[in-house]
Structures are given as structure tokens and as C-alpha cells.
């Protein structure tokens, strides 16, 4: 399983090369031991090692749920686990077993329909997964086998995979580095640099690889994409085995694409379903929307209605039957079987029969319609042209369609700052060296020009310090050089032949900054960094160690050896992490600059250095290697070494980098505010930087009163808990107790009064959330929460990723459980994206992680505005209307049937024909509501986007509260009564036809049903504000289909039917003028309240408009 990856710079890995070799799993009783061992090459397995046969899974990726064989049983089982489906299955079984009024077909067919549609949808999705799996599994790879490349299907590789690959060697010049596009085959701007182990970089032919003998020990598969701990032991003939550490920088994930390397050789360590990508894929969270909760509540109400109807009918039946001539008149004797059944059993079956008769009140097809609506509806987001970004050539991405309507319900928005509110494209602004400010000001015309660029010096530091500082900027980074001829889509520098590539835009900005001042980084070659200095001389430094950046340490360092043999450590990082590690007397002068820069909203970094003696270096070198080798607790050990190494440094200076705001992010935040959402910014940045960004993007207005709970206000001393307590109490008093009570009723009315903003930082937050045991501060959290909820905007700075999630969870679990939304772009936002109700990823510069874990991904922060205000609002309105309409239409469908029982001796005689019972929900009334729920725009999209206030209209699940539910229920009940009694009174006249002939019970039902179908469809037409040809087609088409079907159904003697009840009933019905008049009248009466409401609303709106107009007109005068 050593393999080679040839690649074009921009194409995904097309083939792999593997070498067949023995792989052995580490011995152990447990299937999962701490580490796994992969053997490379023909190493004789020694007896003592007691290897057992390999236990690795094969390389088939199976993301599909079903196979051809188990699809039916498995899918059915899963579908019937749904309460609603199970309920209908029970009803169906009751119908089969018990003698019920309607045939099993009436409920069996809709159920079958619903199950089939869902199965088709799920089958289709699974087929897509199968296809994707096959694409991966059948793709060709190259395996190195006996020093030759053999082409094989990826799936057949017994040993390992197309999965994660450890780099052994790189062919291209053997530079030992390659840039890989991260992410599963998608084009993605996040490039990462991966390295081969130093000892193997020379192996760049098939033969050399074949001769390699090594063992790789690494941890068992785990889903963390950014963590990998392993070690490779290389055995050379006649030499001691060499052990080298392996980290995430040595691991290529499945689906990675090579960028600046033609091919690589690698060893597969995780295969198939054990690859990190596959493990991550499975860990998708299941989020449920609030609308579903409402649906379930309504379902319970209707279930109660159903049960009470059945109980009432059963009771009355037996009361009525207590009269013997009602029970069994001479003309209608019971069958023998009926007579012999026990009374209790008979009552029970009667109850069940009534249940069956009325069971249509529970809308069987609602779930499938809701599912289809969500599935199809989510396409509108990804089709939205306004959310298409030219730069990355992508639009919005929908990862889950379950949460569409949740977008219309958001109350809290948690946003990351860098890359979300800002561009994450950095620009070097200024720096300070030993307290002297250096600022680039090209516009300054003072005739003073230097070879190294037009700079204005505000006083000058020593030349040597300057150079040291610039060298530090040039050396202390992980930036890559990319040759100009390979530029693709990146911002090229025509004057140079290369571009810089880095996972962090800050670093590029710094390197470019240094370039402006005369120090140009020319690249890394064989671990030697080349720099061209101000005098145009070449300097080379041997790169000994890179102490990588991590968000906990918030700094990174390099250790280099100069040509003169001096050992230097350069460190750069956040001021808070640098200041404690440098000589205290140096801090003051730099701190002034750092603070001022932070106030201006720049990102600041401090640069420090220290000289190492050979002895010190040796020690560090040893420790680092030891720590890197460790398989257990590697991180902790590394952190310890870093901690020890990066101490007692000398501060040289600081840099300021500007991160520009994304276009329209201020407008977007304003709009979100106006829409009643509370925006919280959660960032890892310094408080001052974050604060100024917040002002810039208008999160805080100048009128906003800021409440600060930061290390500054709370203080550093032991008394900080007391101080915190005081502050909390003070703010609490200010915000909650002093406020007049009457404001409590007006939700989200804060826009009218004084606005408060809260600033809190990570350390204070942890103090609040995890207070020490002894103090009486256990309710800090509560007080804090109350304060937070009263604030318009909250800024949380210096947050660790987990703290972000903690905050989201805290708000999510408050009373009323508000809907939260998290938006972020980086890996550090993933936790909060997963935590919030709705997670939005920005397809930003920091890789694909956020968008992969999100529910929706958009290219820019500004798209949030349309996503929430327009799409979210519409989706919510649509689905709410859909749900209410479904309950309504089934209520007025079943109510006449219920009323009919009072006139047929409670004998469970159905009012409608079985065909109508069956088709009502699946044919006659299903498509119009589906089309409505997909296309409706009750308010124009542009208006919705432009007027954020409209969003508040649907806040708090407004359309699915009990009030609108009752309105719909009463409307349904009213219409049901009108249908039934209207036709009842019509039937008081025996002859409705002009030839004196009479109508029977089926005509009665058909008239009711006709009125019903027309009324509910026209009701929907009245509700439709946005007519497309599709709406016209389905609404009028449904009605036409109903008429056509009725003619057809009644026009033929159906041989498979036991009774020809409907034979020419519909046609005869239409020959009667009275019936026509009655149908029109009843439809009109049923819709009358609705029409009246519309007219009144129009008048109100008009008067409103007029009033507004008057106000507008009189304003300039008065």
C-alpha cells in the first residue's frame, strides 16, 4: 500500500499507486487498541512480536444506507418508526381485521402513496450516494507492486486505501513539501502544506519505494480532521532503525488534491470507512425544527378531537340503540355473526370503526408534503443568483433541508468576526520597532525617497533592531512560494514571478509588509530559507524547527541557524501571549502602540526573539523530538516543550494588519437588528480590535451604552470575583430592576429605548460560567444571562472555540428556547455552528470545515440578509400555511361525515364514496398546496429584503401559535357545518331534478364533497398572493381533474367493485339546476368570512397608506 499520486496541479487525484505489502494490525485482545501498526515493505515478521492477521477494514467506502436487497424491509421499518405512519398502519390493519365502514383501500392507498413517495425520495438519495461511492470505489489507483506500478480499482485494494495517505516521498524536486487542496474533491481555496518525513524524501522512484522497509504506528481512526499522531520507524540494512514523528502535516486526507506537485508516494493508514473523512461524514447532527414541534402539538389536538368524536358517536349509538326498533327494525336485521358477538366486543369494534371513519382528520399526506416541500424548497436557496459569488464561482449550499423554515425564526445571531464580518484578507498597515512607529504612507510627498520604499519614519530605531525585526517577519512564518506560472485564481503579482501561499492570511500580509521595507522572502529550499535584504544581498537561514501556531498558545515560533552559526528563535503572536514571555521592561513602549492599533481595529501581533546557545538548542531539539514521537498525550507534551522554549525572549516590535470589513456587513447587521434579532459577535481577537470592528460594522451605535465585563474592568487581583459580583449587580440593576415593568410585555421593543451593549472576554466568561466552589456566585450565570438578554448587542472577545459553543448553548437553553443561528468561517467556529439551531458556514478563506459542518453555507456574510429576511421568512410562512391548511382541509373534510352519523343511526355509514375518501388528500387537494408552499411570496422578495421589520411579523412562531390554529380550526368547522347543513336543507326537497326523480345518499355525499373540494381549493387561491403559471395549472388543474375523475369514476360499471354506488351519480347531480345553485351558494357562504377578511384588510391597508401619505406630506409643513 505504498502508492504514488500523480497529479495535475488543478485536477483531483486521478490515480494512486500502491505497493502490495504486508500489513499487520497490532496484537491485542481489544479490537480497538490505542495504536495501529502498519508495516511497509518486506519486513520479516518476528515471532516475538506476535502479530495477528490484519484487521483493517477494506477500502470500500459505504456511505449508502441500503442495498438492493435490504432496501424494502429496511426502508419500511424505518418509515414505520415514524409515529404518523405507524398510526396509519394500525388504522389500516384495523380495517383489514374488523368490519369497518370503509374498505382497507381507503386508508391503505394513501398510506401506500405516502410510503412510496418517501421511499422513492430516500431511494433516490441513496442511489446518489451509491453512485458517489462507486465513483470512489471503482476509481483507478496505482499500486507499487514489486517495484512496478500496477493499476487497480480502488475498491479492490485489500490493504489500504484511497483514504488517508502518509507522504513518503515527493517527486517534484524532492522539496519535501506539497500544497494540497483540502476537502473532498470540491474546489476549495483552503490550501494546506503537507510534508514528507525527511528521511523518505529521497525515495522518489518505484524501486526506491519498493525497497523501503518501515513500520508506521499511529492512533486508531478518529474523526478529528486536524489531529494525527503517529510515528514511522524506518529500518535500513545494517543501520539502527530511525524513528520519526508524524503529525497532521504528514497526513493527506481522503479526497485531497495535489497542487504544486506532480505525484507523491504514500502509505495508506486508514481505509474505507475508517478514514477521517468517512468518520466525519457519519457524525452529522440531527437537528429538528420548531415547526415540527408545533405540528406534533396540533396532531395531538386533532387526535383528541378524533378520539372524542369516536367516543361520542359510540356512546350515542348505544343510547340510540337502546330502543329496540332502532337497534334492529324489521327491515334491517342483523347478521347471525353480529348477533352472537358480545356486547363489549361489539362496542369496541364500533369504537374502532368510528376511529377508522374519522381517521382522515389526521392528515396522512401532510408529512410527505412537508418533506417534499422542504426537499424541493431548498433548491431555491442554492439557485438564488443573488447569493452567487463571482469570486469563488459558487452560490449558497444547502446541507440540510430540514431547517428551511427555521431561518425565518432566528432570534439570536452569533457571528464570528474574522472572515465572517471581515474579509480575512489582510493588509499590512504599520509596525513599531522598539516603540518607534513605521507607517507606510505613499501619499506623503516630502521628496525623501529611499531605496526600500517611501516610508515615513516617526523617529527611528537602531538599524540593527530594524533589520532584526524585518528578518523576524521574513523568517517566522509558514508561507510558501508559488511560482507564477502556476497561478490559478490567486492574486498574482505581475512584477514578481511568484505568489505567497499560506493557511493564514496574516502571515502573507506580514511577509509582504517586510518586502515593502526591503526584506524579501524568496522561499524555502531544502530547509534553507532565503531572504533578500535591503542591500539586495542573499541571506540563507537553516530552518531547524517550526513551532506551529495553535489557537490555545496564540503564537508560533521558528528556530533558525544563521550562516554564521548563530541559533535564533523568532516568535510572533498575540500580545497577551507574548508579553508574559519577554523582558518586562521592554513591554511598555510597544504596548502603547499595540493598544492604539487595536483601538483602530487592526489586528496586532508582537514579535520577539531570543538567541539560543548550542546547548540550549540541543536540549530543545531533543525534547521536541521526544514529544513528537509520543503517541499518547502528544499534544500536552508538545505544549509543555513549547511553553519552555518560548520563554525569556526579547520583544522587538509589533505589527498592525488591517482586516477590511466585508462589503455590506454593516448594512447586514443593521438589517438584522431592525429585524429584531440580537447579534452577538464571538471572536478570538483582542477586545479593542473587536470593539472597533463592532463600531465599524454598526453593531454598536454611538448611542449604545457599553457595559464591560472584561479583564480590564474586573481586574486581575484575587478580588476579581467580588468585583465581578459588584459589576454584575450594578448592570443587573441598571437593566432589569430599574426598567419600568410595562416593558416586559412588549417583546423586542428595545429598539425604542436606550440600547445597551455588553462586552465580555473569555477569562471573565469562564469566571462566570465556572465559578469557584466556595463563593456564593452560583447564580452569576443567571444574572449574566439576564443582562445579556437585555442587551442589543453583545461582544465576546478572546473566546476559545469551546467557549463559543458554550455561549450558544447557554442562550439556546434559556426560557422560551429562542432560535439561535451561528455563522462562521473557520474550524474554530465549527463547535458553535453545530451547537446552534441553525449553523451557517461562510465559504471563506479558512478552508471548508465550517461550510461542511454547517446546515447552510453562503459565500459572504451579506448573504445572510437575504437568507434570513427573504428566504427564511418565506419558508416559514409557506410551511406554517401548509400545516394549518392541512389540518383545516381535513377538518372540513371529516366534519360532515361526523355530522352524518347523527342522521344515519350512528351506523358508521360513510358520507363520501371510498374513491373520494382515498383521493381527497392525495389527488384532489395535494398539488395546489404543494405548489403554494413552494412558490408563495405573500410579500415580494425585494420588499422583504429591504424592510427588515417585516421579519418581526413572523417571529416567535407567530403563524403556528394557538390563536391562528384556532382560527383555522374554526374556519374548518364553520365550513364543515355549512357544507353539511347546506346540503341537508337542500335535500329537504325530495326532487331536485326537473323530472321529479330523487337523489340518494351517494348524491348527498357527492354534493358535499364537490362543495368541499371547490371550497378548499378556492380558499387556497384566495390566499395565494403570488401567481405563477404553476399555481394556475395546479389549482385549476386539480379542480378540472376532480370533475373529470368524477365523470369517469361514475361513468363506468367497474367490474372490481362490489357496489356500483357512484354510477352516474355525478352526472345526474349536474343535471339538477338546484344543485348547481346550491353548490355555488355554499361555496360562496363558506368563503364569505375569508373574502370579508381580505376586503377589510385591504381597506385597512389603504387607510394606513393614506395616513402614511398624509403624515409624509404634512411633515415638511408642520
Amino acid at each position: 500500500m505504498v502508492f504514488k499520486v500523480p497529479s495535475n496541479p488543478n485536477h483531483s487525484v486521478s490515480s494512486f499507486l500502491f505497493r502490495r505489502c504486508a500489513v499487520a494490525a497490532c496484537a491485542g485482545e481489544e479490537k480497538r487498541v490505542g495504536t495501529r501498526t502498519v508495516v511497509v515493505g518486506h519486513r520479516p515478521v518476528s515471532e516475538t512480536d506476535a502479530y495477528v492477521a490484519q484487521k483493517f477494514c477494506d477500502n470500500r467506502i459505504v456511505s449508502s444506507k441500503y442495498t438492493l436487497w435490504n432496501f424494502l424491509p429496511k426502508n419500511l421499518f424505518e418509515q414505520f418508526r415514524r409515529i404518523a405512519n405507524f398510526y396509519f398502519l394500525i388504522i389500516f390493519l384495523v380495517q383489514v381485521i374488523v368490519d369497518t365502514p370503509t374498505s382497507p383501500v381507503t386508508s391503505g392507498l394513501p398510506l401506500f402513496f405516502v410510503i412510496t413517495v418517501t421511499a422513492i425520495k430516500q431511494g433516490y438519495e441513496d442511489w446518489l450516494r451509491h453512485r458517489a461511492d462507486n465513483e470512489v470505489n471503482k476509481s483507478n489507483v496505482f499500486i507499487v507492486e514489486n517495484a512496478k506500478q500496477v493499476q487497480k480499482e480502488s475498491e479492490k485494494i485489500k490493504v489500504t486505501v484511497n483514504g488517508e495517505v502518509r507522504l513518503l516521498s515527493l517527486k517534484l524536486v524532492g522539496r519535501g513539501r506539497c500544497v494540497v487542496r483540502a476537502g473532498g474533491g470540491m474546489s476549495c481555496p483552503g490550501e494546506l502544506t503537507h510534508y514528507a518525513v525527511r528521511d523518505t524524501t529521497v525515495l522518489c522512484t518505484d524501486e526506491a519505494i519498493d525497497a523501503l522497509t518501515a513500520t508506521i504506528e499511529c492512533e486508531q481512526p478518529q474523526p478529528d480532521l486536524y489531529k494525527f499522531v503517529g510515528r514511522i520507524i524506518i529500518y535500513r540494512s545494517n543501520q539502527e532503525p530511525v524513528a520519526r514523528s508524524l503529525g497532521p502535516e504528514n497526513l493527506l486526507l481522503k479526497g485531497a488534491t495535489l497542487k504544486n506537485t506532480k505525484k507523491i508516494y504514500g502509505v495508506a493508514v486508514y481505509t474505507g470507512m475508517e478514514t477521517k473523512m468517512a468518520l466525519n461524514y457519519q457524525g452529522k447532527s440531527q437537528k429538528r425544527s420548531a415547526v415540527e414541534k408545533s405540528i406534533n402539538a396540533f396532531l395531538i389536538v386533532y387526535l383528541c378531537i378524533l378520539l372524542s368524536k369516536a367516543t361520542v358517536c359510540t356512546t350515542l349509538k348505544y343510547v340510540w340503540q337502546s330502543n329496540p326498533f332502532n337497534d334492529e327494525p324489521w327491515y334491517n336485521e342483523k347478521t347471525k355473526k353480529e348477533r352472537e358477538t358480545f356486547k363489549v366486543l361489539r362496542m369496541f369494534t364500533d369504537f374502532l370503526s368510528f376511529m377508522v371513519l374519522f381517521n382522515f382528520i389526521i392528515p396522512v399526506s401532510m408529512y410527505v408534503t412537508v418533506e417534499m416541500q422542504k426537499f424541493l424548497g431548498s433548491f431555491f436557496i442554492s439557485w438564488d443568483k443573488e447569493m452567487y459569488d463571482e469570486e469563488i464561482k459558487e452560490g449558497a449550499l444547502v446541507n440540510t433541508s430540514d431547517l428551511n423554515e427555521e431561518l425565518g425564526q432566528v432570534e439570536y445571531v452569533f457571528t464570528d468576526k474574522t472572515g465572517t464580518l471581515t474579509e480575512n484578507s489582510m493588509e499590512f498597515i504599520e509596525c513599531c520597532i522598539d516603540g518607534h512607529k513605521y507607517k507606510d504612507c505613499i501619499s506623503e510627498v516630502d521628496g525623501f525617497s529611499q531605496t526600500d520604499g517611501p516610508l515615513k519614519y516617526y523617529g527611528k530605531a537602531e538599524k540593527s533592531r530594524e533589520e532584526l525585526f524585518l528578518r523576524a517577519l521574513c523568517l517566522c512564518h509558514t508561507v510558501q512560494i508559488k511560482e507564477a506560472d502556476q497561478v490559478d485564481g490567486l492574486i498574482g503579482h505581475p512584477e514578481h514571478r511568484y505568489t505567497y501561499i499560506s493557511s493564514s492570511p496574516d502571515e502573507i500580509a506580514l511577509v509582504k509588509g517586510a518586502e515593502k521595507y526591503g526584506f524579501t522572502f524568496l522561499g524555502l529550499e531544502n530547509n534553507f530559507m532565503k531572504i533578500r535584504n535591503q542591500k539586495n544581498e542573499m541571506e540563507t537561514y537553516q530552518l531547524l524547527h517550526v513551532l506551529n501556531f495553535d489557537p490555545v498558545r496564540r503564537r508560533m515560533s521558528v528556530i533558525v541557524r544563521t550562516t554564521t552559526g548563530k541559533l535564533l528563535l523568532f516568535c510572533k503572536g498575540a500580545d497577551s501571549s507574548i508579553f508574559p514571555r519577554v523582558q518586562q521592561e521592554e513591554i511598555q513602549q510597544t504596548k502603547v502602540h499595540v493598544d492604539r492599533n487595536a483601538m483602530d481595529g487592526y489586528r496586532t501581533l508582537c514579535v520577539a526573539f531570543k538567541e539560543l546557545t548550542q546547548k540550549e538548542y540541543d536540549k530543545i531539539d531533543r525534547q521536541l523530538n521526544e514529544a513528537k514521537m509520543a503517541l499518547q498525550d502528544r499534544e500536552e507534551k508538545m505544549a509543555k516543550v513549547f511553553e519552555d522554549t518560548e520563554a525569556d525572549m526579547h520583544l522587538i516590535g509589533a505589527t498592525a494588519v488591517e482586516d477590511r470589513l466585508q462589503e455590506q456587513s454593516a448594512e447586514t447587521i443593521e438589517a438584522l437588528h431592525a429585524a429584531g434579532m440580537k447579534v452577538w459577535v464571538l471572536t478570538g481577537d483582542k477586545m479593542e480590535t473587536a470593539k472597533s470592528t463592532c463600531y465599524a460594522c454598526r453593531l454598536f451605535q454611538t448611542s449604545t451604552e457599553l457595559l464591560e465585563l472584561t479583564a480590564k474592568t474586573v481586574g486581575e487581583s484575587e478580588r476579581k470575583e467580588d468585583r465581578l459580583h459588584e459589576l454584575l449587580m450594578e448592570y443587573h440593576k441598571k437593566l432589569i430592576q430599574d426598567v419600568p415593568k410595562n416593558r416586559g410585555g412588549l417583546k423586542r421593543s428595545w429598539t425604542l429605548s436606550q440600547e445597551y451593549g455588553l462586552i465580555i472576554d473569555g477569562s471573565t466568561l469562564s469566571l462566570i460560567l465556572n465559578p469557584s466552589q466556595d463563593s456564593s456566585s452560583s447564580n452569576y450565570k443567571n444574572i449574566f444571562l439576564q443582562i445579556c438578554l437585555k442587551c442589543t448587542a453583545v461582544l465576546c472577545c478572546r473566546m476559545a472555540p469551546l467557549q463559543k459553543a458554550q455561549i450558544v448553548r447557554m442562550v439556546k437553553n434559556t426560557k422560551g428556547s429562542p432560535i439561535t443561528l451561528s455563522i462562521g468561517d473557520g474550524a474554530n467556529d465549527v463547535s458553535m455552528i453545530l451547537e446552534a439551531h441553525v449553523g451557517i458556514g461562510i465559504k471563506g478563506k479558512e478552508g471548508r470545515q465550517a461550510s461542511r459542518n454547517s446546515d447552510y453555507a453562503v459565500p459572504k456574510f451579506k448573504h445572510l440578509r437575504k437568507l434570513l429576511l427573504a428566504h427564511g421568512h418565506l419558508y416559514y410562512v409557506r410551511i406554517a400555511h401548509l400545516v394549518q391548511y392541512f389540518f383545516y382541509k381535513n377538518l372540513c373534510f371529516i366534519l360532515p361525515q361526523f355530522l352524518y352519523q347523527f342522521f344515519c343511526g350512528f351506523s358508521q355509514q360513510p358520507l363520501y364514496d371510498a374513491a373520494y375518501l382515498t383521493m381527497y388528500n392525495i389527488c384532489f387537494t395535494s398539488l395546489p398546496i404543494l405548489a403554494y408552499s413552494l412558490l408563495e411570496q405573500h410579500i415580494n422578495i425585494d420588499t422583504l429584503t429591504a424592510d427588515p421589520q417585516l421579519y418581526m411579523k413572523v417571529s416567535d412562531n407567530a403563524m403556528l401559535q394557538w390563536k391562528p390554529f384556532l382560527y383555522w380550526t374554526f374556519l374548518g368547522a364553520f365550513e364543515g357545518l355549512v357544507f353539511f347543513f347546506g346540503v341537508y336543507f337542500l335535500f329537504q326537497n325530495s326532487s331536485l331534478e326537473d323530472n321529479g326523480k330523487v337523489f340518494g345518499n351517494w348524491t348527498f355525499g357527492t354534493i358535499v364533497f364537490t362543495v368541499l373540494v371547490f371550497t378548499v381549493t378556492l380558499k387556497l387561491a384566495l390566499d395565494t398572493r403570488f401567481w405563477t403559471w404553476m399555481n394556475h395549472f395546479v389549482i385549476w388543474g386539480s379542480l378540472a381533474f376532480y370533475v373529470f375523475f368524477s365523470f369517469f369514476w361514475g361513468g363506468v360499471i367497474w367490474p372490481f367493485l362490489k357496489q356500483q354506488r357512484m354510477y352516474f351519480v355525478f352526472a345526474h347531480m349536474l343535471t339538477s339546476v338546484s344543485t348547481w345553485l346550491a353548490i355555488i351558494l355554499l361555496i360562496f357562504i363558506s368563503l364569505f368570512p375569508e373574502i370579508l377578511l381580505i376586503v377589510l384588510k385591504n381597506i385597512k391597508e389603504k387607510s394606513h397608506q393614506v395616513r402614511n401619505k398624509i403624515m409624509y406630506l404634512y411633515k415638511p409643513i408642520g
Binding site: Q909, Y984, L986, V998, G1000, Q1059, F1064
Partner: protein
């Protein structure tokens, strides 16, 4: 009378505004004749009241022969000008009971020979009698209305029978497609060989009428009965009285008598029987409901329209006045 139907059902039995009169009348018996212009004439001949001529037949049984007969005289105060339709009406008769509705075999009635000899199970307990299949089977057929009603005009003590037409009372599609006699050679008697008559019937189905095209399953009285009514109080078309010429009305005002061969027992289930004479316009029988409903809805709409128009005008005026300072 049905549970809830009492109050509403009575409405059809009287002229509008005549409610009190009717209720009082029905207490002491005089033939409950409703006779007002534009509304059908109804005669209740159940005979529960001791003074009723049909009281003697009240407890009649199915197999009483000769049948109990009674005669009710009534006066027609307004003449019927156009064709008159004669209905029989039953009350508290649950033709829409589930057990009853499904107790029939449509393929047997459609002339299917296999079903004729082996009727559907739905017909139980009226499926077989003495091991012979019943034709037509089922409760509906078994309980077919079998009173005979005859109408005479009394003119100076001479009784002139009025011609009652018994054909053309069923739906054309029923008579010609849905209901068919069994096919085969020979007369009806031979075709129904091997079956037995419904228990309550005095004679088999092939002896319902003398005319071959109105006999057997295609007997129109039978077809009309087989169309189950929607409500427990219903009427079914019994006979037609055609206007003979343009010179005189179909039924002149005057004295009439109704001869009833009382076979159909309704007393056991508290039912009532009525004979109804009615004329019909282009939109069917006289229907107070539609008229009242249209008038009510129309006036409400008109009223609301006026109100809204006023409101609209008010705002419209304001709108124009608002434009003035512009």
C-alpha cells in the same frame, strides 16, 4: 323521528308560516293535508291516530291477504296546473343505515348469472332462504315499499280514477344499464329458476309487473327503492300524473280520495307514511331553502357592500384631500 331531525324535518311538512297550524292539527286527527300554492300537498296515512281511516291497518303484517285497505278523502283547494309528481314519503326509516346500505348485490342486479345463484355475502342475512339464493338479495330489496296508492277524483259522488303512470320514475342509467334481468333464453320465470323470492315479498321478482319491460330487476318501483335515501325522512317518486291537454289543469281543485292497499308496516319502528303530490319547475321541486338562503346571503352582501362603499368613499375623499397641499 330521528334524534335531531325532529325540529328540522318538520319544516318540509308545512307551508311557511303555517307551523303552528300544522302542529295543532296533527294532535287531533283530520287528514293532515297541506295544501297551499306552490307547496306540495302531503297526506299522512300512517294511521296512528284513532280517528284515521287507516288506523285499522296500523298493525298490518306482511302476509296479510287480502290486504288491508283504507281510503282517505281530501280536498284540493288549488289546482295543479302542470305535470304532477306523486311521491310516497317515509319517516324514521333508516335507509342510510350502514348495514342496510351495503346489503345488496349490484352484480346480481346487473344480470350476472353467477351472482344470481350465488349472491354476495353482503346480503346476509337476506342471502338465502331455505338453501335457495334470494333474488334480489339483501335487506334493501327485502324491505321494498309495497303499498299501492290509487287516486280518485270525486265529482258529484262519482269516483273518477286518475291515470298514474308508473314508468319514467327511475334514472335512465339505472333502468337501462345498472339494472338488468339475467340473460338467457326463455321468459323471466325461467331465468329466475333456482332462486327464491325475498322473504317479505308476496310474490317473486318476475311477477312485479305484467309488462315485460317493467318486470324483474328493471321494475322501476324496485329501482327507485334500491336507490337508498340520504336521510331517515325521505320521499321516493311513486307515479307521474301527466297533463292531458292545455285546456284543463292536471288536477283540478276539488275533492279527491286516496285508496291505499296498506301492506307496509311502519308502526313498529315509529315511522310514518305520507303521500305527496307536487308539481315541479325547471329547477326541481319547490325549495324554500334555496330561496331563503339566496335572499339572505344576497341582502347581507348588499348591506356589507353599501357599508364598505361608504367606508371606501370616506377614505377616498381623504385621499384626494390629502393631495391638495401637494
Amino acid at each position: 323521528m330521528g334524534f335531531w331531525s325532529w325540529g328540522v324535518v318538520t319544516l318540509q311538512n308545512e307551508c311557511p308560516g303555517n307551523t303552528l297550524a300544522y302542529s295543532s292539527i296533527s294532535f287531533f286527527y283530520s287528514p293532515t293535508v297541506n295544501d297551499c300554492p306552490f307547496f306540495p300537498l302531503q297526506i299522512d296515512y300512517t294511521g296512528t291516530e284513532p280517528s284515521s281511516p287507516c288506523n285499522k291497518c296500523l298493525n298490518v303484517s306482511w302476509d296479510s291477504s287480502p290486504p288491508c285497505t283504507c281510503t282517505i278523502n281530501f280536498t284540493l283547494e288549488h289546482s295543479f296546473e302542470s305535470n304532477v309528481f306523486m311521491y310516497y314519503g317515509l319517516s324514521n326509516f333508516y335507509q342510510n343505515h350502514r348495514r342496510y346500505v351495503k346489503s345488496r348485490d349490484d352484480s346480481q342486479l346487473n344480470g350476472d348469472n353467477a351472482s344470481l345463484l350465488n349472491p354476495s355475502k353482503e346480503c346476509e342475512p337476506y342471502r338465502t332462504n331455505e338453501d335457495k339464493p334470494i333474488a334480489p338479495c339483501g335487506a334493501i330489496a327485502n324491505s321494498m315499499f309495497n303499498d299501492t296508492l290509487e287516486l280518485y277524483r270525486i265529482d258529484n259522488d262519482t269516483r273518477t280514477p286518475i291515470t298514474l303512470i308508473k314508468k319514467g320514475i327511475a334514472w335512465w342509467t339505472d333502468k337501462n344499464v345498472k339494472f338488468r334481468n339475467p340473460t338467457g333464453d326463455g321468459n323471466l320465470t325461467a331465468l329466475f329458476q333456482g332462486t327464491t323470492k325475498p322473504v317479505n315479498w308476496p310474490k317473486p321478482v318476475y311477477m312485479l309487473d305484467s309488462e315485460p319491460d317493467n318486470n324483474g330487476f328493471i321494475n322501476e318501483d324496485f329501482i327507485v327503492w334500491m336507490r337508498t335515501a340520504a336521510l331517515p325522512t325521505f320521499r321516493k317518486l311513486y307515479r307521474l300524473i301527466e297533463r292531458k291537454n292545455n285546456l284543463q289543469p292536471t288536477l283540478q281543485a276539488g275533492k279527491y280520495s286516496l285508496d291505499i292497499a296498506y301492506n307496509y308496516p311502519v308502526h313498529s319502528f315509529d315511522g310514518r307514511k305520507r303521500m305527496i303530490l307536487s308539481t315541479i319547475s325547471w329547477m326541481g321541486g319547490k325549495n324554500p331553502f334555496l330561496g331563503i338562503a339566496y335572499i339572505t346571503v344576497g341582502s347581507i352582501c348588499f348591506f356589507l357592500g353599501v357599508v364598505l362603499l361608504i367606508i371606501h368613499h370616506k377614505y377616498g375623499n381623504r385621499n384626494t384631500s390629502a393631495d391638495i397641499p401637494n
